[in-house]
Amino acid sequence: MERKILIVDDESHIRLLIEQTLEELEDDGVLLFTASNGAEALEIIEAEKPDLIFLDVMMPKVNGFDVCRIVKHELKLQDIYIVMLTAKGQEFDKQKGQEVGADIYMTKPFDPDELYEKAVEILGLG
């Protein structure tokens, strides 16, 4: 079965970095998608039903929490694993994360190796 990862961040360099970190997974047949805002992300989610989303919390208009809430509660896509990305030094609102159904959170600047290993683990690869 084809595995899909969606990377959502309004900062293009973060998208690029995560994409590049995960590009080796493409060799295992994983497809990488990117979105630069919440609305775009929701479009891709509905169309592609990714297995895993790396989702930035701080985005203009539809933020990460909103996207997560819509995915888990409105679209009822409980199986999509959502990793919230939050900036280091910024206290992640764990309660809110739990309310909207986020699975885990990681801090930026992320550790590339850790992010890669996490993706492998979540997708059950390796």
Binding site: H13, L16, L17, T21, D113
Partner: protein, 529 residues
């Protein structure tokens, strides 16, 4: 030439869209992008695999661009990486073909450039995370035995090495480097031998990091080595060493920089850990010394005896490091009225010395109370101590019995400094000499016993080697001669005056030089009742 997968640079659907646009400019021409292995990646028109393979076979060796009129092939090479090939078949026009592969190559270069910048950024991410992580881990660790392994594990993971080691001296302020953490090798690998050994010594001496790349000639198990000092301020604590097996992946300046940053954090952590250990040790020692001193002080007489016809004065000043002096006055049972005078010096310091002192003092008192003469008392004391001396501590002691009515003094010395006898009116002191060996080492011993008759206004000065061996700034000892000289000056003014005269004399001699041993002194003077 190494291969860079085409899909890392351009997505399949993007490539197809792009080829489609170009195909409009070249009607009737089939276009294809192949991967480095020759497999089709994206295409326009109906390609047969055999046809594609044939073109590739013609171009592949050597890798070169071909323009054959009805077909053309251009290898795609980006920054020395073999990416794939652009292939066209049909009624080509050369300008269009040139334009096509020129723009494609330009695009791929741009993407590759972006990738390398992103890689650089990811590298920084790794560094930041490593330093963040390591600071968090080792910053809270105060065990110098654990820090090296924590650091090496992280260093090997992030900088990617096959072997690694951290070397530090066996203890602070020592120069002998010992392996304190190791990774990926065992003794038989001889990782730290030969050239590596030389490299370690060099970095340890100069404090400059080194990258060594030509180890494949030597018998080393690794091909490249990165060696950096663990340095705090200008002090080199030790070495971190990483090795890789494959010649192609030499360590870069960036690796070196990262390892240096890591080494600096490590050096701070180790320095702090050492400081912490030192402080704990110091506190423990201080506590022990204080306890020892407390015991010692509790065993000294609270005050001097008040006996008509005699004056007594005593002083005890403890040194910070060494303890073990004591003195004692006790009235012996029976008639005539007699007073025991004891001064002693126990070897060692701290609690063990203080306990030994308490033990010896009790034995001497107990035996003395049975009424024996000084030599016999000390000989018996020696026997009991030798029988029970497991601590390897000894003592010197001088014991005298003074008949208070007559002034007759009998005495013996167990290897102790002979007290001074200052007969009234004489400018020279005499020693209360008596041969004898220190107590607690051998049994039996035989001590000489002597006696003198003290006349009115005669003075005795009992002391320990802390007095005669008091040192001045140029390491000269106060000595017996100076002691005798200051002792005789104030004899007419009483016991306390003599004591003060000696204390002042020693102080003037030593000036501000710290006292290195206990200073114990007591003075006895026969006066009118």
């Amino acid at each position: 030439m190494s291969v860079l997968p085409l899909n890392r640079l351009i997505k399949r659907n993007e490539a197809t869209a792009w080829l489609t646009q170009f195909s409009h400019l070249m009607p009737g021409v089939k276009l294809a992008l192949t991967k480095a292995d020759g497999d089709l990646f994206a295409d326009i028109g109906q390609w047969h695999e055999a046809e594609l393979a044939e073109f590739l076979a013609q171009a592949n060796s050597p890798l070169r661009g071909l323009y054959m009129g009805d077909w053309a092939l251009q290898p795609l090479i980006v920054n020395d990486h073999w990416v794939g090939a652009l292939v066209a078949f049909g009624p080509l026009n050369e300008a269009g073909w040139q334009c096509l592969h020129y723009t494609l190559t330009l695009f791929l270069h741009e993407v590759a450039e972006k990738r390398s910048l992103a890689n650089e950024a990811l590298e920084r991410y790794r560094e930041i995370n490593l330093l963040y992580h390591i600071t968090e881990t080792i910053g809270s660790n105060l065990d110098p035995d654990i820090i090296p392994q924590l650091v090496l594990t992280e260093a090997v993971r992030v900088i990617q090495a096959d072997m690694g080691a951290i070397l530090l001296p066996s203890a602070e302020n020592r120069a002998d480097l010992k392996v304190r953490a190791s990774f990926g090798y065992d003794e038989t690998d001889e990782f730290l031998e030969g050239v590596t050994h030389y490299l370690i010594e060099q970095v340890y001496e100069t404090g400059h990091p080194e990258i060594f790349t030509s180890l494949s000639l030597a018998s080393s198990p690794v091909d490249v080595i990165l060696c950096v000092p663990l340095k705090i301020r200008d002090h080199i604590l030790g070495i971190i060493l990483l090795g890789r097996k494959v010649q192609q992946t030499v360590f870069t300046a960036s690796d070196e920089k990262l390892l240096m940053a890591l080494a600096n954090q490590t050096a701070i952590a180790i320095d702090t850990a050492w400081l912490h250990q030192r402080e704990i040790k110091r506190q423990r020692l201080d506590k022990e010394l204080a306890l020892g001193q407390q015991i010692q002080l509790s065993l000294l007489p609270e005050s001097c005896p008040t006996i008509p016809g005699w004056e007594f004065a005593a002083i005890y000043q403890s040194a910070r490091q060494v303890g073990g002096d004591f003195y004692d006055f006790f009235e012996l049972p029976g008639e005539p009225r007699r007073l025991g005078l004891l001064i002693a010096d126990v070897t060692g310091k701290g609690v063990p010395a203080a306990l030994f002192m308490a033990f010896s003092r009790s034995i001497i008192r107990t035996i003395a109370m049975n009424g024996g003469n000084p030599a016999a008392v000390l000989e018996q004391t020696n026997r009991l101590i030798v029988q029970d001396n497991r601590s390897g501590i000894f003592l010197t002691a001088f014991y005298a019995i003074l008949e208070l009515e007559t002034g007759k003094l009998i005495y013996a010395s167990g290897g102790h400094n002979w007290p001074l006898w200052l007969p009234q009116g004489q400018l020279e002191a005499q020693e209360l000499a008596a041969e004898g060996f220190l107590l607690g080492a051998f049994d039996p011993i035989t001590l000489q016993e002597q006696a003198v008759q003290l006349a009115m206004n005669d003075t005795l000065v009992f002391f320990t080697d802390g007095v005669t061996e008091a040192m001045n700034a140029v390491s000269e000892l106060f000595g017996d001669d100076r002691l005798q000289a200051v002792a005789v000056t104030k004899t007419t003014d009483g016991a306390e005056a003599t004591l003060q005269s000696i204390v002042t004399g020693v102080k003037q001699f030593t000036q501000n030089t710290p006292q290195s041993d206990d200073f114990t002194l007591f003075v006895v003077k026969r006066v009118k009742a």
